[in-house]
Symmetry: C2
Subunit: 595 residues, 2 copies
């Protein structure tokens, strides 16, 4: 049997015994190693400024970002199912970390060390939750974050992050986890803007934006090879980092009031314990859950996008375990919550990473940076990092989804717009909860008012269709109804009302046949409604029948006594029911205007 | 055209202009008046002890129960759509009122007057919510309380109420809104039991239980007419009330430590203002919402049960308005939240009430009792009322639903059991919220893992069924899949995974046809998944087609560009698709063991 291109690769199906020794490692070649090495170099150059910047965004000391990029990368390489995913601090999770810490009782965060311990506890709780979800195979939970909710949330987060970084760019004080707090504070502080800081920030911003668009074509025109041009253009943020640090030191910007990163402890990530304070854990439980789910959804989407390009398969439950392990690792090595990042994974993939070993090399690169480079970062202006963040997150902002969902379905549009506004207006946690609430409520609202069609025979066929859309034949004394929804508590009463009303419109009715081809389940509430319907029809001298009941639904109905109580029959096809029960044909109903 | 028995009665369809003058009033006859009058007498006799008792259950002075039985009855008679529903204080809503007041900041309830004002505010908020829901036609919201959740909640409430009344029967102090608080407190206080109080309570309890079972047959055997026997046997609680009050006064039970009702202000219900304190309103908003929904669901169920017996129709939006008006009325006349009660409505109906005028007469009877009888109630032992409550609520307790749902569907069983345990363990409000959460989560869980069947042709027909359940024909190079669920965010990824896996099992595949007969909707998340599926299949050289897409789903797909991107075709029937695309027949697949 020739394997289909969609057959999972062997790496996903290796046997249980060797689970801890990934198959890619056993088949590792020199060529693969070289590709992985180059990818790792590029990603390392990208990650150093980004890790420092995201730690600043999370309100943590810069080294936390570096530390969070080491152990998680190693652990993901051991357990993950994607060959190109790069795990570490990312923008949205850093924002959510800041919001989680900002929402804590101030008595729990007396100093920077306590704050760091709380961030590590957040990573630990989130990691344990992810591991638990993986072990219990609860990956399906992530599907409750609908695409519209994620789209609205990510765009709003990008806007919130960019707005929040303005305070660093202006060198003013303005706190807040949502726009209604943040914006007035920023505007009020505008007169206190520090000119030199702003100038540095804008210069870095301009460099990053321009280099992103024009540097690679320029280098190619200057005659550099495509690979080198690629590496150099990706290193633009590192160049900004080096140049602004050097200028800052040479011109003593710190002395002129520019905020700089300051001293970062050099050395290996500390093997440290996160806080185990039960009060803190209780307060962090909900934020950790949201961080886990958002992180997992973001990471799996990235992994699946990349896997599709190489016809690999992502195993969601393995991903939960790998991300869980990564977060637990971050918690014990001075980091904070991490997940698979979009930008760095795409860069890793494009740069040619073939196996998780690329992640191991990247971790080594960052470890080296942490060991050797941190003293050199003392004079790095915080405004450089703020500009790095702003450029990174503005690519997350995408309003086109509003237009697309508006055209497709208003309910999805409402979910996007609601999540977007709630996140901007209330902050990330309430925004996410509101978004999930809206999408669930809209789903339930829709399925609570099912489409019910009266059906008739398409002349010359055994097919029965909506009398309002097709020219069909109906029979005296028989009403055929097709309910286009599974029957459950939210629509049980609506179905009851609809059937009563439909029956009331048809005098001299003898039989009602419910065509059940679109009914995938009937819960206990709906069963009671069906009993009530059958009872009322029976009292009115009308028999209730069912047709085209699906196997699983029939199995369940047979476990109740409804079929005996109903009185009528169950037919395999609707045509059979009509032939058995029907009276004279009635003149074909002319179809009404399509609707 | 002869009207069908299920046609709504004229009273439900009178024109807009005369909405405030109900049609039953224009056609009111002497005979109907006599029937209504007798029903009102019986209900009044039943309501006097019950109103006093439920006020005690709500933790309010006894007259609040009487007052809550006057204005609401009159207002419901004006606006309601049921001819037999009796509105007033009921057990579950009284318990929820006690829980709502018990959950308030003690600073808001400094004395009994403040407590009463808070109860009136609760009725006002709940009334306004019901009116708003009625005006916005949001009656469908009530359908989110599934039958299993209601069943579990009502049974648990009955148990909580009965347990709570034990403290009055024992004459000890024990507070608590849930069993884990209440039971230990009761057990600890057991040694303080007041013997005489317990004896009175048990005697009344025995009388009520025995009279409920044996009094009517006994009276009939003594030669009384059936109607008189009925009235007298329904008056058993009034007899208990009169007898225990008389004995209490004669033997000075109050002097021996038996708690009595004490002085009740005589006269008309006071025209009083509920509290308008915004802090209080904020704290009462959630309890008021839950009370509104539970009250509405209980009331509409009772009304529909009774209406079905007379082939009348209940208009849920009118019921919302009528109950809203009733609660607003209660709020301004010294009452507390009310709804349509099961027991009193059934008694009203059985006693022959023909029109809402019966409610007006009942209101008159209770008003008279409030004016004339209250001084006589001074010596009424509280234990008599506790026994009345216990007998009334034990009829709510019904564990058979656990057995029935266990047999029918485990998910429904979980919803009943979860609601029951959460209500007993955490109290009424958390119990209800947990119950709704469980039933929504189970519904979503089920629909997040849809049943997907590979289908083949039933030989000799144009019908396509599950290859695992039927002996069917399939074709080389063509895979037919029927997805038994609407596609939406919660199952989009699962469907994607399932199709990828199914395709991987079929080498040399050229076409995949999704039979969409059971797909009632496709949201934006699912559309993205379909695009991803089509894209992956296309890259593997396989075309994706759809068959039997429903009208509303097709309308929406045509608004997106999916049908162009998909590449394949859309067929009206699955048979057409197979005839157009299919290769050679393959040998009939033997059906596997039914499953």
């Amino acid at each position: 049997m020739q394997p289909s291109p969609l057959t999972p690769k062997p790496k996903a199906s290796h046997d249980r015994g060797s689970r801890l020794l990934p198959s890619w490692l056993r088949a590792y070649s020199r060529d693969t190693g070289a590709r992985d090495g180059i990818a790792a170099l590029i990603v390392t150059l990208m990650l150093i400024p980004q890790s420092l910047a995201y730690a600043q965004l999370a309100g943590l000391p810069p080294q936390a970002g570096l530390y969070a990029s080491i152990a998680p990368l190693l652990l993901y390489a051991m357990f993950g199912s994607s060959s190109a995913l790069a795990v570490g601090p990312v923008a949205v999770i850093s924002l959510m970390t800041a919001a989680a810490l900002g929402g804590l009782d101030p008595a729990l965060l007396l100093d920077d060390a306590a704050r760091m311990q709380a961030a590590m506890a957040l990573a630990l709780i989130s990691g344990l939750m992810l591991l638990l979800m993986g072990l219990l195979r609860l990956g399906f939970l992530a599907s409750f974050l609908s695409h519209p909710v994620i789209a609205g949330f990510i765009t709003a987060s990008g806007l919130l992050i960019a707005t929040g970084q303005l305070k660093t760019l202006l060198n003013v004080r303005a706190e807040g986890q949502d726009l209604p707090t943040l914006l007035p504070a920023l505007i009020q502080q505008l007169p206190q803007t520090h000119g030199l800081t702003l100038a540095i920030g804008l210069a870095v911003l301009a460099w990053l934006v321009l280099s992103r668009r024009h540097l690679k074509p320029l280098l190619l025109r200057l005659g550099l090879g495509p690979r080198l041009a690629d590496i150099l253009s990706r290193a633009a943020p590192v160049v900004a980092l080096i140049a602004s640090t050097a200028l800052s030191q040479a011109l003593d910007w710190a002395g002129q009031g520019v905020k700089v990163v300051g001293s970062i402890p050099a050395g290996l990530p500390p093997l440290s314990l996160p806080s185990l304070d039960p009060t803190l854990w209780r307060e962090l439980a909900l934020p950790a859950l949201l961080i886990s789910i958002v992180g997992f959804v973001e990471s799996v989407s990235v992994a699946q996008t990349l896997a599709a390009k190489r016809r690999e398969r992502i195993l969601p439950d393995r991903e939960l375990i790998a991300l869980g392990a990564g977060n637990v690792g971050a918690a014990f090595s001075g980091g904070y919550p991490v997940t698979g990042g979009f930008a760095r994974s795409v860069v890793n993939f494009d740069a040619g990473a073939r196996t998780p070993a690329a992640g191991v090399y990247t971790a080594g690169g960052i470890l080296l940076a942490g060991l050797l480079l941190t003293p050199a970062l003392y004079h790095l202006p915080q405004a450089t990092l703020a500009a790095t963040i702003i450029v990174a997150v503005l690519s997350l902002v995408d309003f086109s989804v509003l237009r697309r969902t508006w055209g497709y379905a208003k309910a999805d549009f409402l979910a996007v717009a609601g999540t977007l506004l709630a996140t901007l207006g209330l902050g990330v946690e309430p925004g996410l909860i509101v978004g999930v609430g809206i999408s669930l409520a809209l789903h339930l609202y829709r399925s609570s008012r099912p489409h019910i069609a009266e059906v008739g025979q398409v002349p010359g066929t055994e097919s029965y269709r909506n009398v309002q859309r097709h020219a069909v034949l109906t029979r005296e004394g028989l009403l055929g109804l097709r309910i286009d929804e599974s029957l459950y508590f939210a629509n049980a009463r609506a179905v009851e009302d609809h059937i009563n009303a439909a029956v009331a419109q048809h005098p001299e009715l003898r039989h009602v046949v419910l065509q059940c081809s679109a009914i995938n389940a009937i819960d206990a509430s709906a069963l009671e409604s069906l009993e009530a319907i059958a009872h009322r029809l029976h009292e009115a001298g009308i028999a209730l029948h069912l047709s085209e009941v699906k196997g699983p639904v029939m199995d369940r109905l047979q476990r109740s006594d409804f079929l005996q109580q109903m009185g009528g029959q169950v037919f395999l096809t609707h045509h059979q029911a009509v032939c058995t029960l029907g009276g004279e044909f009635r003149p074909s109903t002319p179809p009404a205007a399509a609707g």
